[in-house]
Amino acid sequence: MSAHHHKEDFLFKYVFSTDHKMISKQFLVTGFLMGFLGLVMSTLFRLQLGWPGESFEVIDMFMGSWAEDGVMSPDKYLALVTMHGTIMVFFLLTAGLSGTFSNLLIPLQIGARDMASGFLNMLSYWFFFLSSVIMLISLFVEGGAASAGWTIYPPLSALPQAIPGSGAGMTLWLVAMAIFIVSSLLGSLNYIVTIFNLRTVGMTMTRMPLTIWAFLFTAIIGVLSFPVLLSCALLLIFDRSFGTSFYLSDIYIGGQVLEHSGGSPILFEHLFWFLGHPEVYIVLLPALGITSEIISTMTRKPIFGYRAMIGSMMAIGFLSFIVWGHHMFLTGMNPFLGSVFTFTTLLIAIPSAVKVFNYLTTLWKGNIRFTPATLFSIGLVSTFITGGVTGLVLGDSALDINVHDTYFVVGHFHIVMGLSAIFGMFAGVYHWFPKLFGRMMNNKLGNVHFWLTIICAYGVFFPMHFLGFAGVPRRYYTNSEFPMFDNMIDINEFISMFAILAFFAQLIFFFNFVYSAFRGPRAPQNPWKGNTLEWTAPVEHFHGNWYGEIPHVYRWPYDYSKVDANGDYVSGEDYIPQTVPLGDNEKDGGH
């Protein structure tokens, strides 16, 4: 590609860009804005949960007529819980995480000038943007935002007259999600085809960084599962708006029998969780890929078990499609079928344990450089273990029944999916910030951000397991009406205090992010001395990524601290970029 690329005007450079790096930044900024709103929502409803019925100036200020005298109303509480879940799962951790890093890293790490189709890629972002806007508008319609929880089970979500949030807010939720699914599919299409077809010379599949493998599996899972969610949402739209009976049967509401017959809400759960469970790995795998890359680079060691890492991601991806029933143990499922789902679910522990083992063995005796990215990666390993262990409890039908729909579940999935994924995302942002913005983030602020975040995160989610054991149900507006939970109120207060502190800790990150993007010190081309191809591209961004020819690849990406027979570094330094040809008698790693 010519160095003197044609001059792009503002609109096409920053708005309707087809350059994967710009689209990546668009996903990042939109995802973070949505994530920030999700964070504010959770902080507000934690105030209600910690001090139920108490009046707060801050709630009055932010929620106005939604909270008379500074006390949040029950329906607005439900709306906030629903929107928090929706935003965090889909908008921040699906589109924000995958959209940012798949877009940034796939072309740069495999050696391509851009995605297979820049146009589809642009469409993917703009559908995501449109979906975000509609989701936000839904907060301000009559009756308020959707309130049936992020899983929007019918009949609550299917009958517009059920609760205030089942009206226009729910309709907009479904519209927004349908558009979101299209966005996600267009993105995934591009990621898969780019990885399979546009790798540079020498970039065999087994020389790809683990990030790329993770993005590939994520995209494949997305292509297979999101269309099923679309079919699920479509049937719900018909039930809500056109009087069909896919999910509804013989329902009384306000003393009236509705004219629906024959349907079953359990059908919704089957369709929803067929996406819903793979969605967990759509959120998690990119974070695991990012962590693999960062831990190897920052310990200056090759990743332990490269092939085992790929194999375990493949196994996790496959298993994710045959475990959805573990969300439905209490739907009257045949206990034998339940035990089958228990078996497949518990199998996931094996590839997950392989990954954890490999992270720990890579860290073991490594020459670790503790950047914020390293810290967050290690944080991910920690939360992945903590949350994974409670997954064994929930995956086993006999145990799950006892804690179903309690705070135990909330604690489990926030740690294993929410925290792990967001830690991976933070790690990725700190690590690839120089690539995204050409500047460095402040490490000191990053370290403070990490320590506050991980302490608060455990402070918030760990005690929830005890609430769950005591039987405290999730999603309730208040637990102060039940005498048996009276001695739990201190725990709720404790959790809320950490939640508030966690909120302020994130402000440090946002400040660091915005300040560094404009005023941070200029980044060198290869700040972490990494091997992968993105660090061979110039710091400045232009469409096409490399001046002149695309670099060729001669080795796998994890040749860190490679020594010869005498114990000296092969290249004289502790890293060998993928573009350096193999020496005489030198073997390629990873095989």
Binding site: A116, S188, L189, I192, V193, G262, L267
Partner: protein, 194 residues
């Protein structure tokens, strides 16, 4: 824009057009798998009544098979350099595609006259599924028709040749897929709902 740049873009197009389509097809297959599985799960509820499939749907099955054959004939003609026949074949494909939609519509009219309704309080699960599956197939067929029109214009302008027929190949793959999808749906409806 430099020559090298254009060549690279052309190479990307050559390498990625078909895979993009194939993975798109996979996602459409998952979409219809989700819906037809939903039918099977709903049927497990035990309240399904049989609906007589209108004869028009049988005709549309024959039409869509014929349209695939015509399109294929057009592709072979381009390969042999016989553009005159290719133009006629693609035109015939388009006409058959439109006739398919027409016969589907006639099928709906017949259903409606038999008091089988898509939505509303008199609809049943099986009737709603019947309309929904056929309508969603047509929604996907519209994309195929748009690409068919593009191919027709390009064939008339004689843009295709043995070395340059990627657009036509992509379009024909999608068209065959739509035909296959309809045949699946037809037999599915015939033996599950009807």
């Amino acid at each position: 824009m430099s020559m090298e740049n254009i060549n690279y873009k052309e190479e990307v197009r050559r390498k990625t057009s078909k895979p993009l389509l194939w993975i798109g097809i996979v996602s459409i297959i998952m979409f219809f798998s989700g819906l037809t599985s939903a039918v099977v799960v709903s049927q497990g509820g035990g309240s399904f009544l049989k609906i007589d499939l209108p004869f028009a749907f049988t005709i549309s099955t024959l039409i869509i098979i014929a349209s695939s054959a015509a399109f294929h004939f057009g592709l072979i003609s381009v390969k042999k350099g016989n553009l005159a026949i290719a133009k006629i074949s693609v035109l015939v494909t388009l006409v058959l595609g439109l006739s398919f939609i027409l016969t589907q519509f006639l099928g709906w009219v017949a259903l409606y006259e038999n008091e089988v309704y898509a939505v509303g309080s008199q609809s049943t699960q099986e009737s709603s599924y019947l309309y929904l599956l056929t309508a969603l197939h047509i929604a996907h067929l519209l994309g195929g028709l748009i690409s068919l029109i593009v191919v027709l214009v390009k064939t008339i302008k004689e843009r295709y040749s043995v070395d340059n027929m990627l657009g036509m190949q992509v379009s024909i793959t999608y068209w065959h897929f739509l035909g296959g999808l309809w045949i699946y749906l037809f037999f599915f409806l015939r033996y599950i709902i009807a």
